[in-house]
Amino acid sequence: MKSLPRILLTLLMLPSALTMQAETGSLQNDDIVTESRYDSLKLQSSRYSQMLHRYQRFWHGLIPSQIKVQYAGSIGLCSVAAGWHYGPQHRIWETDLFFGYLPKYNSRTARTTLTAKQSYVPFRVRLDDDLDIEPLACGLFLSTIFGEEFWGSQPSKYPKKYYGFSTKIRANMFIGQRLRFGIPSSLRKRHNAISFYYEFSTNELYLISYISNSSLPLKDILSLNCGLKFELF
């Protein structure tokens, strides 16, 4: 489980590494392709340049377009995310990868978490020139925590269906709101917009407990987070 990110990364790199090796035979160890060189190469070999163009466009599309910083929310005391916004209108879809830190508190050690989050932000209401409110943001996130006490499914020592759940992976859903401050182009330094958001979330284990017990109030199963989203482009 620990080597999963590395495997994913290798898999992602593999096709590009292969094409690079095949196509740069004639390039003779040029590490950086400058624009002028790129232009001259385009004249030399259109097949090569097409390939290079496609390759660069692919990786360019993977550059995160937003950064998030979050407090609480069941994925650590604080977490940072790199993410992408996309879709029609106001880029209503967002995908983020969070890295969270959880101090030890009363447990043996501090821990880290990884979270994949998919958000849907359908509306944007203009309040002021550079101020928008996004009255609804909702979605799902899958979170995993690192540590040997946690397992994805029960270890093989247990009889079948002894513990029919995962202590490591939590499936969560959330609903929240946002306030978006657009930064006028004259004042822009790093970001073109900053949003403040807050969200209520719950996970599948809390939900099961809530459904089967009328004595549990709804607020017991909710987790509140708040954070900032920095839009880079």
Binding site: N106, T167, L224
Partner: protein
């Protein structure tokens, strides 16, 4: 126009967050326990010892396996409160299903409605994730003993399987020292645990030694346990000590034991 609007939003935002302070959770396994909710077993044990000093008759109830059955546990707590004859309550483990920090808090909230003191033993589900750490913070040590008047009550962690038999579960060192330090005024001993000998959680390689060691306690009367969710009276060891098993909270079942120096009675109540 601009400034008051921003200010208003800021005020609403801060006020909102202040109200929602309760809802902050860093992780379902974050082990954050308020200071007021720590060391419950030690505090309760002192209360039990104080209230039962000099009593000729002792009456206690056992509940167990209350995981994810909060409604049912509430009903049992009410029933125990209504009876009025029960002096203290023993929870023999599995108060949580997933070992989550909030599950411990929710159970504590139900159990604190008991009008009498209670002690909790760790169950196998309570060990999951960081659940064990929460148990130690909230309740205290795995093994404790209480001198309630003429009764010596021993609470043991018997979930050896959860630790791959790599820890002293059951802890014979504790049992040995506990036997040596049992006061002379004790004429009866009751041992409470989550999983009894013979269960897949118990370290069955040491069953004989376990029953031998428990036999060293003055006037060992019986053992109480949970875990199997069914209930009944068993004799899992080669001596004739009965093990009374209480069923899970799902069945709203609790056991009531009334002890005197001469004997004891056993009652199984299903609501």
């Amino acid at each position: 126009m601009k400034r008051p609007l921003y200010l208003l939003l800021l005020i609403i935002g801060t006020g909102w967050l202040y109200v929602a302070c309760d809802l902050i959770e860093y992780h379902p396994y974050d082990t954050r326990i308020s200071k007021a909710h720590r060391g419950i077993n030690a505090e309760m044990a002192a209360k039990i010892e104080a209230l039962s000093a000099g009593c000729d008759t002792l009456c206690f109830a056992q509940i167990t396996d209350t995981q994810r059955w909060f409604d049912e546990t509430e009903a049992m707590v009410d029933a125990i409160n209504r009876r009025g004859d029960i002096q203290f309550v023993i929870h023999t483990g599995d108060q949580t299903d997933f070992g989550l920090t909030r599950e411990y808090e929710w159970q504590r909230r139900v159990l604190k409605n008991l009008k009498v003191p209670y002690v909790c033993i760790i169950g196998n589900h309570d060990c999951l994730g960081t659940g064990e750490d929460v148990f130690h913070t909230m309740y205290g040590d795995d093994n404790i003993s209480i001198n309630a008047g003429f009764l010596h009550l021993v609470c043991l962690n018997t979930n050896a399987f959860e630790y791959d038999y790599s820890r002293n579960v059951p802890d014979f060192d504790f049992i040995k020292h506990d036997i040596a330090s049992t006061p002379d005024s004790i004429s009866r001993t009751v041992v409470a645990m989550h999983a009894m000998p013979g269960s897949e959680q118990f370290n069955n390689n040491v069953t004989d030694y376990f029953s031998y060691m428990l036999g060293q306690y003055p006037g060992l009367s019986f053992c109480i346990c949970g875990h199997d969710h069914h209930g009944g009276i068993f004799y899992p060891t080669n001596d004739s000590i009965p093990y009374y098993e209480c069923s899970a909270a799902k069945q709203k079942n609790f056991l009531v034991f009334t002890l005197t120096r001469e004997g004891y009675t056993y009652e199984s109540i299903e609501l």
